[in-house]
């Protein structure tokens, strides 16, 4: 496998607080990597650094062998790294259709046209197809603020996937989603991801989701990578049990992987 994304000794400090330190992570093409860690372990800081939202204090981020440190979110995203957010980042007062149309409008033009219409038949049809792929067509005319959390999450991920990224970073995709809906949501997302062939790195607190969908697992603790490897290996790691997951979990990881 070839390394798509590689971080070397990545670190970020906020004054005296070290949010991330010595992070060496490699993501290969087509991998689906889960990330676990308690609150404040540095997971979101890591995603924010990779996507250009936060500048690292030190270290290197390589995407397909080239450094992307210092690039802004737009440049990182155009390079092929897209993300979704812990709290879905949408246009709340607009309809679902408008959200997708805006995304298409921005995606298709480097310089936004001033006069040509956006809501053309072709664009609306394309938007409908996207919403159908994510199973949210019925919400098309609804304003985002009125949507259930799961639909917002799906829309957020759908917008992130529009550019057909090579790596998709998902920050807690099932947080705030009803227990009954989390696997449906992840199934929909993974179907779209497999179709595009993108590698995925997703931060998650739900161990069932982690076990079912990741092919590799990284555990963060105190801003550092505590363990990195096969899901069952990381989950059975004594340090991970002690510092991240606790000893009480009773999940058959082999069986969960078979569910996926």
């Amino acid at each position: 496998m070839s390394a798509l994304l590689e971080t070397r000794s990545l670190a970020r400090n906020f004054g005296a607080v070290t949010a991330a330190a010595d992070i060496d992570v490699t993501i290969n093409a087509g991998e689906i990597v889960g990330v676990i860690g308690s609150n404040g372990a540095g997971k979101t800081t890591f995603i924010n650094m990779v996507t250009g939202y936060l500048a690292p204090s030190s270290g290197e981020i390589l995407f397909k062998g080239k450094s992307i440190v210092g690039k802004n979110p737009r440049q990182v995203m155009r390079a092929g790294i897209c993300r979704s957010f812990q709290v879905a980042q949408l246009f709340p007062e607009l309809t679902v259709l408008d959200n997708v149309l805006i995304a298409y409008g921005i995606m298709k033009h480097k310089i936004l046209p001033l006069m040509s219409p956006l809501a053309t038949k072709a664009n609306i049809q394309q938007a409908e197809q996207l919403l159908e792929e994510y199973g949210i067509t019925s919400y098309m005319a609804e304003t985002v603020v009125t949507l259930p959390q799961g639909v917002r999450k799906l829309l957020d991920i759908a917008l992130a996937m529009l550019r057909k990224p090579e790596i998709l970073l998902l920050d807690e995709p099932t947080s705030g989603v009803a227990i009954d809906d989390k696997f449906d949501l992840m199934d929909t997302v993974m179907r779209a991801v497999r179709k595009s062939g993108a590698a995925v790195l997703f931060v998650e607190h739900d161990m069932e989701v982690i076990a079912r969908y990741s092919t590799r697992l990284i555990a963060f603790y105190d801003g550092r990578v505590l363990a990195d490897g096969a899901v069952s290996d990381v989950m059975n790691d004594e340090k991970v049990k002690e510092l991240v997951t606790g000893h009480h979990l009773d999940i058959d990881y082999e069986q969960e992987v078979q569910h996926a």
Partner: protein, 312 residues
């Protein structure tokens, strides 16, 4: 799209035809209203992106002074050339100021824009060459060598205002439906998502600022030609406040909102002044209060409710 364009052009022709039979006072009043409508259409672009400028008076005044100064000092009376000059100068200044302003939001954007407007006011008040606080008279304009006299005098500026209104109206109407138009609303709603979709928020705001400046310069230039006199008050913060007042009154949901607001404002002000010369501002204030309470999206929303069959 073609239907709307035809409608706007049709409305323009009707206004031009009506102008031939209007009394002089109404022609003048509508010219000023349309000129202000142009400024507010620019303000609409900013307001839809969540930015309220309290400094459009800067470009309104600058546009007017460009017309006046060019007419006086460069012996040019060609109305089209003067207005073009006003727009170009305003866009040039906005290109510089916009670089700073597009970094700010909310109250900071409003106050910064007002500060620049007040700087121009201060400079003009102290400039005896431009008539200080009294301002100076603008030479009567020419159009392709034709000098309007007598009854046709006010009609030239009125005609220019209507033509400009039609042109800018079509532009704004199409703009609001374009990717850049939608991007404005996207910026108002969530800047982070806009950046992560691949567009530069600053560039979007900068573009809107330039367009708004061009429209304000155009409105200022037409006002100078219509009124025949300019003074620094045009850059004073109350003038900019007037534009925000009109935007709230007319609504920013449609390109027609600012025009309706501007006409309503001018009519209200004229009659309020006639009825109560010492407290006319109070009448305007109460009117705005009533509109905000009962039509929070402006008078245009009333038209929308009627045409879309929504309850009043």
């Amino acid at each position: 799209m073609k239907y709307a364009t035809t409608m706007i052009i049709g409305a323009g022709i009707a206004l031009l035809a009506a102008g031939l039979f209007m009394p002089g006072w109404l022609t003048f009043l509508l010219t000023l209203a349309f000129a202000k409508g142009l400024v507010v259409m620019g303000l609409l672009l900013l307001m839809r992106a969540g930015l309220v400028s309290f400094g459009q008076g800067l470009y309104y005044c600058l546009g007017a002074y460009c017309v006046g100064i060019a007419g006086d000092y460069f012996e040019t009376q060609n109305a089209l050339l003067l207005i073009l000059l006003a727009v170009v100068v305003c866009v040039a200044l906005a290109a510089v100021i916009g670089l700073l302003l597009c970094r700010y939001r909310d109250i900071f954007f409003a106050m910064f824009s007002m500060a620049f407007s007040m700087i121009l006011y201060g400079v003009l008040v102290k400039s005896s060459a431009f008539g200080s606080s009294d301002g100076f008279n603008v030479k009567p304009p020419l159009l392709f060598g034709w000098t309007p006299t007598g009854e046709s005098g006010p009609f030239l500026a009125y005609g220019l205002a209507v033509v400009a209104l039609v042109g800018v109206g079509i532009f704004v109407w199409r703009y609001l439906r374009s990717p850049m138009g939608y991007a404005g609303e996207a910026v108002r709603e969530n800047e982070i998502r806009v950046e992560y979709l691949g567009a530069s928020v600053r560039r979007i705001i900068y573009t809107k600022y330039l367009l708004a400046a061009a429209m304000a310069g155009l409105g200022g230039g037409i006002t100078a030609l219509a009124a025949g006199h300019i003074d620094p008050e045009m850059a004073y913060w109350t003038t900019s406040g007037e534009f925000v007042f009109i935007a709230l009154m007319g609504g920013v949901g449609h390109a027609a909102g600012p025009v309706i607001g501007a006409v309503l404002f001018e009519l209200l002000r004229t009659y309020a002044f006639q009825i109560s010369p010492y407290t006319w501002q109070m009448i305007l204030g109460i009117s705005l209060l009533v509109i905000i309470l009962y039509l929070p999206k402006g008078v245009w929303s009333l038209v929308e409710r009627v045409t879309k069959g929504k309850p009043l």
